[in-house]
């Protein structure tokens, strides 16, 4: 084939280029429509933008990398929780950090549930935890598990430990429940003073935990509980 585009008559060349351009624009439009139809959540910029959104997250969301930015934000959250931030309003940036992850990817449910657990029971700020849970539920109404957290937080506000444990029971039995939640509920049981029940619970946690932190904590707690029970604990 020796046809050269530069040797084609002007009308034929223009027709060829215009035809290809039309097909390209049409496939772009149809492709974008199909993509919109396949979305589970609206695009980030059409969700309520969190007040403390970073430029990195905004740029990533605009650049079609919201999922990766959510992953990065989640690593930030974990680093922050493990860091020395007691003077920062007792880990005061926890809500903005998890809120950013939730905004970037409402489908990152594990991170959101973990954020609610940390705020509600690790730092004892049920108002903030409830705020995160309500926003998550409004964005993702199909996820019924947030309702259990909201109910447990309501009990937490009234310092009703038994109510919290009861509300979270179905959640604890799920294989992907955040291990932070398992540890928090274990601590609530210890506070209740029912050592035998706590012993059973922590042995169950030890059998299912994947994280080394949880395994270590379970082993230490079980050891303490054995000592207490041997000394005549309840």
């Amino acid at each position: 084939m020796s046809a050269r585009i530069s040797e084609l008559p002007g009308w034929a060349r223009l027709g060829l280029l215009a035809g290809l351009a039309t097909l390209a624009v049409a496939s772009l439009e149809f492709g974008s429509l199909a993509r919109k139809g396949s979305r589970v959540f609206p695009p980030p910029l059409q969700r309520g933008i969190p007040p403390a959104l970073t430029r990195f997250s905004l740029a990533a969301a605009l650049g079609d990398e919201a999922r990766i930015a959510a992953d990065w934000g989640y690593i930030d959250c974990l680093q922050y929780l493990a860091g020395p931030y007691a003077n920062d309003g007792w880990w005061g940036q926890t809500l903005p950090l998890y809120r950013e992850v939730q905004w970037l990817d409402p489908g990152f449910k594990h991170a959101i549930r973990e954020g609610i657990s940390a705020l509600g029971w690790l730092y004892r700020r049920p108002e903030e935890a409830g705020q995160l849970a309500r926003i998550a539920m409004a964005t993702d109404p199909g996820e019924v598990r947030y309702a259990a957290y909201i109910a447990a937080l309501a009990y937490q506000k009234h310092l009703d430990t038994q109510g919290v444990i009861k509300a979270l029971e179905p959640e604890l039995n799920r294989p992907d429940a955040p291990e932070m939640l398992l540890r928090m509920v274990g601590n609530l049981m210890l506070k209740q003073g029912d050592d035998r029940r706590a012993m059973g619970y922590w042995a169950w946690v030890q059998s299912r935990a994947r994280e080394q932190d949880t395994q270590d904590m379970a082993a230490k707690t079980i050891k303490d509980l054995r000592r207490r029970l041997a000394a005549g604990g309840r």
Partner: protein, 258 residues
């Protein structure tokens, strides 16, 4: 087409000889190491993080492979005058342009396949199902996006007056191609029809790489992620837009004096 294939396979061999592959293989190895490290940091979300960062690494390795291939070929053509040797052979200029584009795509495919194997090894070592059919499909569409980027870079390597300019224009087009879809959706919500029309034109003109991003659909079971259009239209777009760019580039290339 035989001539095009011969040029493409020679371009591929020449790029292998240029040791680009060594640098890129080291980068790919480093990136898989980073994937393992970031997955570790994610604790309970290790699987999700390993898959997401693995796909990101695939996309970036594809981008650098294609860009480096075209930059090296353009440098050899313009500075070392290898094109003059090729012109005395019975080949048309479109054979050369298409062969160059396909040669770069071949090297990119080889690199991406190598990275997928590395990810599969990482998955086997960690005992995590990182590489599954969803990830392979998402990687295949990133490769399709990489093929379109090869056409974009070929276009700029013909149009630009120097090697750095071609690299810069191509990189800019790659970046912009990820932004225009979200930018358009954003300005459509603003009450500014002039701005919306301007962004719409930009959206049509610049290459759109968002169409090839199926990463966002991973783990979204229950949604309509398997709509046929999500899979068909990006390929149709890559074919039509790539053909348009290569036709424009060829028009200019045939009139170019060396």
């Amino acid at each position: 087409m035989l001539e095009t294939w011969i040029i493409a396979s020679n371009v591929f061999r020449q790029l292998l000889r240029n040791r680009i592959l060594v640098v890129l293989t080291l980068c790919a190895l480093g990136m898989v190491g980073v994937v393992a490290f970031l997955g570790d940091l994610g604790q309970e979300a290790e699987l999700r993080l390993a898959r997401d960062f693995g796909l990101l690494a695939l996309e970036w390795v594809g981008f650098f492979t294609v860009l480096l291939c075209h930059v090296v070929l353009l440098f050899e053509e313009s500075e070392l005058k290898t094109y003059s040797i090729l012109l005395v052979k019975p080949v048309e200029r479109w054979h050369v342009l298409l062969g160059r584009t396909v040669g770069a795509v071949l090297l990119m495919l080889m690199n991406q396949a190598g990275m997928l194997v590395l990810l599969a090894l990482l998955a086997w070592w960690r005992g995590l199902p990182i590489v599954d059919s969803d990830l392979v499909v998402a990687a295949a569409y990133l490769a399709a996006g990489g093929a379109l980027f090869s056409a974009v870079t070929a276009f700029f390597s013909v149009l630009a007056s120097s090697v750095p300019a071609a690299a810069m224009f191509s990189t800019f087009a790659f970046g912009l191609g990820h932004f225009t879809t979200n930018l358009l959706e954003w300005v459509e919500h603003l009450d500014n029809p002039v701005l919306a029309a301007a962004v719409k034109v930009l959206y049509w003109i610049t290459p759109n790489f968002s169409l090839f991003n199926l990463k966002e659909n991973l783990d979204q079971s229950g949604a309509n992620v398997f709509l046929g259009g999500v899979f068909f239209w990006p390929l149709a777009y890559a074919a039509c837009y790539g053909a348009l760019l290569l036709s424009l580039a060829l028009w200019r290339y045939e009139r170019k004096d060396f």
